[in-house]
Amino acid sequence: MNLTLKIWRQKNANAKGKVVTYQVSDISPDMSFLEMMDVLNEQLIEKGDEPVAFDHDCREGICGSCNLQINGEPHGPDRGVTTCQLHMRRFKDGDTIVIEPFRAKAFPIIKDLVVDRSSFDRIQQAGGYISVNTSGNTQDANSIPIEKDNADMSFYAATCIGCGACVAACKNASAMLFTSAKVSQFALLPQGEVEADRRVLQMVEQMDKEGFGNCTNTGACEIECPKGISLENIARMNREYLKASLK
């Protein structure tokens, strides 16, 4: 396949960025999207140009590093996959592909397609944990039976990879889906109950502080989420928040 790529280039956080057009040829449909980017970068290096910077690591859809906005959609046209799991067979010979970074006030650009998502870490630091020491002096694991359905729902919420697609998809750049996934994971488990109020209040406060927008229930986040994190989590977080603020 031969493709035209329109890619956001930006030297650093303070520089002005622009879209630059590149051509790549001989792209195999079996390549992943990032392997296609590798081909482009090899080509640029050979010509003496600077390769395009983008975040990536595990390349199997679990680390959450990769985060490209492809033709206007976070992680591209496929559902339920990250950028690294998107394959070129999804595109046609002669296609033009527009590649941008995830855009949000709380995700400032570092370089080209690389953005700073440390705001997500700070939301987690505000309360995304159960305060138990790791001394090992806890009770036997099976002394806390947990209803399977709750355990499963908790697990599904916990499969969030923190990529930021929900924020990039949202017209308000809201981080509600991300934050609510962690709140839900613990809200559904007896171990998390003790600190539930403090957790939800602090995490939401931090989320607002970081400059993420509010949720207006458009649901784009759920559709673009590569892990299928459900909107129900946002509803659950709203309930938890209300409950905690009325106390």
Partner: protein, 667 residues
């Protein structure tokens, strides 16, 4: 301390760890506030160690090259974590887990370390559940288990195919709690480029800020290396793109011995290579071997027809299939250890029975599992005389609930539906058992420098059993290192803060800077990946699944030449004072080019086959590994002397007092 002594405690095996903990020095809580510890790497081992050290009161600094600790490659571990809980009542015990691990490692690991690992394994599960890790449960609300290779009990705890993710996020949340308290300072997007020694002791590191390119000096009273394994020396592996040996290699060059580098795990069930463009390989969890059956066609004509696209695997009847693992190893069947399964796949493919275009793939088939589960489900749901289609439908639901995300991953990559046609799989580099040599306290031969998790060599011998890497990472980080390190730090309570404004830091930073400048100013003609791919080819062809004397000798000289070529002709675009991914890669590949040579040297010196190390000259008539306990029952710890090929061999003899050394058999 800091010498080449295993420092294993005296006394009966089962009491050693408890006695040791009772006898080592402690640091009083008030003094811990005055002690700094650096942790390099924030995966399961590093993340859990950092959290625990901070809880204990030490000031911790963590370093990772990713943008967040949550992205460390532990996150990609799929299948599970072992623990000797015996919740299934199938006769499991600490001793059995210990025994399985020693035997699985082909009698090349240290008894005392492995026993301790088995001993603390149960606590890991308790700890993780308390932290809110959502393990799989049964309807009764209790934890579920599955089986992994090389064992005859069900002791693996799991969270669907995302166990590593859930455990890592548990450790990450424990870290976050300490970051919030100000006890951990996390330096993300930072890479350690050298260790700094003062008076022979590890006292800090030089790190590069990967956003600004700035070199930073960080001091501490001890340095913990938790930077994972070196499988990417093969270019293609299941490791993350950024996984590297740099931190381990830098400490090796400053005095830490490197042990058993040739012990590498080739995992049997990975998605086969599809072409030259491939940047990495994807694992299909070993848990799939619980239900999937591995086979190739019995007749070569069928294999040829399948390769040519003239036949489909589903067209072959049961009689036309060779379930070669079940045939060769009836006792363990599809659940033989990884090294055995990998070699058996290679043997069939080399003999001409491979099933993909390149002839380097075998089938992993779920059709009988789907029917079996379907029948069970029909019975439970009281469906009388269900049709085959109904059984299949019900069976698919069960399989999806167990392995859904893995099947989806497979379908995305290969573009085939594994519910309908068998998966194609082939062995790939996955894990490195070798690593930095450590004593019982996990201390390297540099005083004050520790290595934990995959970065060290200690627990898996010549082959690691499935679901044991997560166990070791968390055991080291939560339950071992935070206590053993106190014994060393107890002497440091009066040292006070360590200045970075010293000749030692100056010299280390200068060395790092010069190397970076050399790379950036080299202006050669070939990209970093060009060299990395060539290195990978040499490693895979001559130091891979089967090795021989001649090939290894060739590999050593070829790697040396390639390294010289690299330094002459590599091109690193951009500058050193900005975010520069090519520069990062160049530094890592430069280190792989040195490690590769030591790796081959180690494989050449070990004139035996054991675990993942298979020397063609040393095999039984049936093609099984032939160990030489008389001459090679030792850990090969290499001392750097200025050139990887001139490394000096130190031997740590292994003594088995509690286990009878036998020929490993899974037949």
């Amino acid at each position: 301390m800091g010498t080449f002594e295993s420092n294993t405690p005296k006394g009966p095996l089962a009491e050693k760890w408890t006695n040791h903990k009772n006898n080592i020095n402690l640091v009083n809580p008030a003094n811990k506030r005055n002690i700094d510890v650096i942790v390099v790497g924030t995966g399961l081992a590093g993340g859990s160690a950092a959290a625990t050290l901070a809880e204990l009161g030490y000031n911790v600094k963590t370093f990772c090259y990713q943008d967040s600790p949550r992205r460390a490659h532990s996150i990609a571990a799929q299948g599970g974590i072992n623990a000797a809980k015996n919740y299934q009542g199938d006769g499991d015990s600490i001793y059995r887990l210990f025994y399985d691990t020693i035997k699985g490692g082909d009698y090349r690991s240290r008894e005392e370390n492995v026993y301790r690992l088995a001993e603390v394994s149960g606590n890991i599960i308790d700890q993780c559940v308390a932290q809110g890790v959502p393990f799989a449960r049964e309807y009764g609300g209790l934890l579920d288990n599955r089986s992994f290779g090389g064992v005859l009990v069900s002791r693996t705890f799991y969270a669907k195919g995302q166990t590593g993710q859930q455990l890592l996020l548990g450790a990450y949340s424990a870290m976050n709690r300490q970051i919030n308290r100000g006890k951990i300072k996390a330096y993300n997007r930072h890479e350690m480029l050298d260790i700094v020694k003062v008076d022979g002791k590890a006292r800090g590191i030089i790190a590069r800020n990967l956003v600004t390119g700035e070199l930073e000096r960080h001091s501490a009273h001890a340095v913990v290396i938790a930077s994972g394994g070196y499988g990417n020396v093969f270019f293609l592996s299941t490791n993350a793109m950024g996984s590297n040996v740099t931190a381990s290699w830098k400490i090796h060059k400053k005095g830490a011995y490197f042990a058993n580098p040739c012990f590498t795990q080739i995992h049997p069930t990975c998605i086969p290579v599809s072409g030259d463009h491939q940047s990495k390989l994807t694992l299909m969890s070993e848990s799939l071997r619980n239900d999937g059956r591995i086979w190739v066609p019995k007749k070569k004509e069928d294999a040829e027809a399948i390769r040519a696209g003239k036949k489909k695997p589903t067209e072959l009847s049961e009689e036309e299939r060779d379930y070669y693992l079940e045939r060769r190893y009836p006792a363990f069947g599809n659940l033989v250890p990884r090294d055995v399964a990998s070699r058996a796949a290679k043997e069939r493919c080399d003999a001409g029975f491979g099933v993909n275009k390149t002839g380097e793939a075998v089938y992993l088939d779920f059709s009988s599992a789907i029917m079996r589960y379907g029948k069970e489900a029909a019975t439970t749901q009281k469906i009388d005389n269900p049709s085959d289609a109904k059984i299949k439908e019900l069976g698919k639901e069960v399989v999806e609930a167990k392995y859904g995300n893995l099947f989806q991953m497979y379908e995305k990559i290969v573009d085939q539906n594994p519910y309908e046609t068998p998966m194609m799989i082939y062995p790939a580099v996955h894990y490195t058992m070798g690593g930095v040599w450590v004593d019982y306290n996990l201390q390297t031969t540099i005083p004050g420098c520790y290595a934990i998790g995959e970065a060290n060599f200690s627990d898996h011998g010549a082959n690691r059993l499935g679901a044991s890497a997560l166990m070791q990472g968390l055991a080291d980080g939560y339950f071992v290192l935070p206590y053993t390190i106190g014994n060393y730090l107890a002497d440091d309570i009066r040292t006070g803060a360590i200045s970075t404004d010293t000749p030692e830091f100056e010299a280390a930073e200068k060395e790092v800077r010069e190397r970076i400048e050399k790379l950036v100013n080299n202006k050669g003609t070939k990209s970093v990946d060009h060299f990395h791919k060539l290195l990978g080819k040499i490693m895979w062809n001559k130091v891979g699944m089967a090795r021989n004397e001649q090939g290894l000798k060739e590999a050593i000289s070829e790697i040396k030449e390639l390294r010289e070529e690299f330094w002459k002709d590599v091109r690193v675009p951009g500058s050193a004072d900005e975010m520069n991914a090519e520069l990062e890669k160049a530094g890592r590949v430069a280190d792989f080019l040195e490690l590769g040579e030591l790796f081959a040297k180690d494989a050449l010196h070990r004139n035996e086959s054991c675990g993942g190390h298979f020397r063609e000259e040393y095999q039984t008539e049936e093609g099984e590994a032939l160990r030489d306990d008389e001459n090679f029952m030792y850990v090969a710890a290499w001392e750097y002397t200025g050139n990887p090929s001139e490394a000096i061999l130190h031997k740590e003899e292994l003594n088995y007092e509690n286990i009878e050394v036998k020929t490993r058999s899974y037949k």
